[in-house]
Every structure is written in C-alpha cells, then in structure tokens.
Amino acid sequence: MSAVISANSIPLPDPPAELVRQPLVLNQRPLGWISDRVAAVTEGPAPLWWKVSFGISFLVMLMCFSMIGYLISTGVGVWGNRHPVMWAWDIVNFVWWIGIGHAGTLISAILFLLRQRWRTSINRAAEAMTIFAVMCAMIFPLIHVGRVWFAWWLFPIPNANSVWPQFRSPLMWDVFAVSTYFTVSTLFWYVGLLPDLATMRDRAKTKLRKILYGLFALGWTGSNRHWNNYEKAYLILAGLSTPLVLSVHSIVSLDFSVSQLPGWHTTIFPPYFVAGAIFSGFGMVLTLLIPLRAVCKLEEVITMRHIDLMCKVTLATGSIVGYAYGMEFFIAWYSGNPYERFCFVNRAFGPYWWAYWAMISCNVLVPQLFWFKKIKRNLVIVFIISILVNIGMWFERFVIIATSLHRDFMPSNWGYYKPTFVDVCTYMGTFGLFFTCFLLFLRFVPMIAMSEVKGITPQADPHHPLGGAKGGPR
C-alpha cells in the first residue's frame, strides 16, 4: 500500500515504490485513534483471556513462593546441586532471565540513540519485560546463598565484623552490575511513561484512577518546558543504559570466565554472552508480542514490519552465537590444552550430549529459517521459533554450567547432576511471577508508548502533507 500522499498544492511526482518507507502505523491512523486503541487495553472490564491467564500466573507464582519458602526453611539441599555440580539450575535460571532482560534495554536505549523509529511500538512492553525478567533473575542468586538472611552481606555495608565483600570477585561485580541495571532500567521505563501516565490520568473516569495516575504522572501537563526536560532526561538515561546493555551480561559472563575451569575460562565469553542475551531477549519479545498484538487488536501499531525487523535481529544475534560455539571448539583444539579439548568433546558427546544438541538446534539451526521472508511472515512459525530460541538459550546456560562442572580435571571428581522437583517448580514458578507482573502491567499501564508512536506518525511532522495544522484525517 502506498504511504505517501502528495499534497494537492505541491506538484511532485510520487517516488518509486522501492523508496517508499513502510509506514510504522498502518492505515494512516490519526493520533486520537492511537490513544484510544492503546488505552483501551487498560480501560473497561478485564477481558476473559486476561482473567484466565492472570489466575493461572498467580497460582504458579504462589508455587514459586512456596518453593522458595521450602528452600529457605529446609536448606539448599532440597535442590539437586551436589558436588561437583555446585552451580546448577539456580545460576542457569539467573543467567537466562538476566539475558532475556537485555532486549528491553537494547530496544529502548541503543535503538533510541540510533534513531530507529520502529522501536516506539515495542519499547514499552520490552522494557517492562526487562524489569520483570531482572526481578525473576535476582531471586536466584539471592536464595542460592543458603542463609538468605545474610544476603545483605553482598553489599558493602560497614558492619561490626570489619570485613568487606571480596571486591576482586566477579560475583561481587555481579551484584553491582545487576542492581545498577535494574535501577536504571526501572528509571528509564518510568521516565518514558510520564506523558502516557498523564494521558491515562486525563482519560480516567473514576476518582481513584485520577488520583493514582495523577500521582504517578508527577504533575505532567505537557507544557513545552516539561517536554524539554523530559527529552533531555530521556536522552541522558538512554546514554546511561547503553553501556549497561553491554556491561551487565559481560560481567555475568565473568562469573565463569574468571575461574579456571575448562569450558568457563575463555576470553570470548563477554561478547558471546551479550549476543546470546540479546538473542534470547528478542526471542522473548516476539513470544510476548505476537499473541498480544492479536488479542489487544494492535496489529496496526505492532506491524508485520516490526516482526520482520525483530526476526532479523534474532537471526543476526543467533548467528553470532553460532559463530561463538564454533570458535569455542576451534580454540579447544587450537590451544592444545588436553583438558579444554576433553571438556568440549565431552559437551557434545558426553553424558549431556542431548542438552548440547538441543542448544545447537534451537540456537543455531532454527533461527536460520529467518533468512526466508515466507517464514518471517508466518506468525505461527515465528512464534514457535521464538519459543525454541528461549529453550535453546536455557540449554546454552545449562550446557556451560553443568557440563563444564560435572567432569573437571580429576576423574575421581566426576559426577552427574540431576534436578529435583524443587528445582523444576522454582524455575516454572518464576514464570508465574513474570507473567503476573506482566499481566498487571498490561492492565494498568499503556503497553505501547503512545506519545512516542504519535511522534513518528506523518501527522506529527509539520512538513508532511498530513502533518501539523494542514488538515488530513483526524
């Protein structure tokens, strides 16, 4: 469909079809329509799908909490972590959830600085996903310490013991990296929300909604000065978040690569982990948004072009991850280190071969299907691939952690790790926490950055034939 409408007064020829930009909001929807359509998700009685999915998520979340309660009251022995695999699902899940968070910050910060206008339709939901994913992630290091009441020792707080945390340990850097990431992501998300919260406040029918949205809108009036300050704050936060996209997962990877275990002790880890994180994050964004755009009737805002672009990012990062897997094997051979070689052969053909090949198929082979336009346009297949990506990325962390640990230098030290039902239920339970938070977000906060989407429509551009006060459909 042609997006360009020549103003009658300007006799310009239409540009050739291949130069026409695909519109980011279809059907030349006016600004009011965008507000109505996005805000409709939060207004009126909750739809049935929401109630059902919220009920299920809530129950699963309760299961998560009861598992954590059982763990704390009984001890970490209820997990399958045994010598020699002392890090297992806890750290796998931590890294997995943290990785998922990365897409949100990438979309909101890096794509903002790169002036990628398509980010506006998906950044709000992706940032919310980031925050909730980081919350799920933070649970695991917190509870795996065993005596959770001492978890505050992770922070450098002056105490009567005259000892500080080990600042030379990457586990310590992790505390700072993840908590900074969570704080900045939340701030960034909230600052971006301000104009939309004010819209919600102004649309509110009941007194309670007026008060609550009014409180969180911080007195936003949409004045020039407000917009001016807002844009500056948003740009600064985008600048602050950008290095975090790269640093957080780099530091998470140092948890492994600073140690001397074959399979962990490699310099490729930071970039490889960051690529994997963005890969899994985009997988999760696709998993969430493909059904949501249908049930919330937002196909005209989250268009097929958005899906296509996200598929491309997934393909690119998936290929980087595949390259990293290949490079790990090459170095294992090229280094001439027998332990390193053994570790990688053991990964692919040892007792955990099934995890390795699940990882390879989901992370390297399946995303290659995104080279084909036909596949990117088939939402069912894209949805399935996005889930496979997340399964694959979970297996990646499992492969790195469990297979490296279970057979190290001394055969007398070998073992085989098996999870317990508490491991499984805690992990499954974090999905309950994640989706409970995400569904609440859908119902109470506009899931698309309305003000930003309006900003990229032709109507917002005073030089566009439809823009400014020149008329056009309203």
Binding site: A160, N161, K210, I211, G214
Partner: protein
C-alpha cells in the same frame, strides 16, 4: 487534575523526601548504636552466686591471675577455679563467713558453684587463651580492668572488629611476657613516651616472636 489534588499537595513530595531522609538516618543511627556489641554486650554484669571481688583479690591483695585461672597458659580455655582453690586460703580466712557458705558447700560436696559466664565468643569462633597469653597479649586487652571490678562486667565489645583491630595491628597491644598478668602495667606513665616505647618494642616483639596474628577466615572460623 486540580479537582483531585489540592494546592497544598505541591509541597508533599518535598516533605516526604525530607521525612524519609530523617527517618532513614534515624534507623541507620539506631541500628548502628543499639544493634552492635558496643551496646548489646558492653556493661553486661549478671549477679553471681558468690559475691567474689576481683578488686580485693587481684588488686588489693595482689594475687596473680594465674593463681586461680591456672590453665590459661596451657589451654585454649581459661578455667574457673574449683572451690578447693578458694579453700586454700578460706579454710583460714573468713572461714565462717556466711557469704562463703556456697564455696564451703561446693568444696565439701564437689558440686561446682553455678557461676554465670560473662565473656563468651559464639560457637562458630575458635579462641585460644594460651596462644594469646603466650605471645604477650595481656588479659586486660579483652577483659578490661578486671582487677578494679568488684563484680565482673563485660568491658570490651569482643566483636569481630575488636578481634581484627588487634590482629591487624598486634604491635600496638603486645607486651613483655612477664607483664601479661599485670593489668595496669605501662611502659611509662607519660602517655607520649608510653606510645613511643610501645611502638618501638611492639614491632620488635612481633618480629622476634614470629607473631602471625592470622587474618584468614579459618584462623577463627574453623
């Protein structure tokens, strides 16, 4: 908007911020003071079954600590004497005093006097008296001026900070071995001169005696 929030609410965020700052500081200050051993331990002075006075015995009579706590140089544990040790003198001195009834009874029956323990490190801490006393760390460093106390009280905090302060700077506390049980011994009555001599001799003693003053976790948490 204005129909929901009256004008006075404009000041509210600032007030909340200031209030939260004050409450936060109070909580930190309160925890710092009331929840640390400086408050929770120092001053603990339980009533003992026998009103034994260290001031009379150790200071006025000049008895050595090791007359009663005779295992302190050989054992990790500084023993509380059996009543028989008391009776060495008290079968002659104050031998019918009603305040010593429990001591006589204990000496006769062999049933120990139920003293209330005051200085106690947690179960996860290993402390060895002999190694400290044997390397010139005086009783007074951890127990305070016991020889001036009628009833013993917890004088020092015995927190981990307290242990580590000395383990990090042993030269500031170490003294000649024959002065370990002379609780108010000093190099010099002049504080400045005392400090100079302590530094001078302290470092030499630490080096000569190969004082390790371990700081590894497993030194105490075994």
């Amino acid at each position: 908007m204005s129909d929901v929030f009256p004008k006075w609410t404009n000041q509210l965020p600032l007030k909340i911020l200031i209030g939260a700052g004050l409450v936060g500081s109070a909580v930190v200050a309160g925890a710092w003071y009331y929840l640390t051993p400086k408050y929770a331990r120092v001053g603990y002075q339980p009533l003992q079954p026998v009103a034994f006075s260290h001031a009379i015995h150790a200071d006025q009579l000049g008895m050595d600590c090791r007359y009663c706590h005779n295992a302190v140089e050989k054992s990790w544990y500084s023993n509380i004497p059996a009543a028989g040790t008391c009776m060495n003198c008290h079968n002659q001195v104050l031998k019918d005093d009603p305040r010593l009834a429990l001591v006589r009874e204990s000496a006769a029956s062999g049933k120990p006097i139920p003293w209330v323990q005051i200085h106690k490190v947690p179960d996860f801490v290993y402390f060895n008296h002999s190694v400290h006393v044997g390397r010139g760390i005086s009783c007074v460093e951890c127990h305070g001026p016991i020889h001036k106390m009628d009833e013993v009280r917890h004088a020092k905090e015995l927190s981990m900070t307290f242990c580590l302060d000395c383990h990090r700077h042993p030269a500031a506390k170490i003294r000649p071995l024959d002065k370990v049980t002379q609780l108010d011994w000093k190099w010099s009555q002049d504080p400045k001169e005392n400090e100079r001599l302590q530094k001078l001799h302290g470092e030499k003693m630490v080096a000569d005696w190969k004082v390790e003053s371990l700081e590894s976790c497993s030194a105490c948490h075994r």
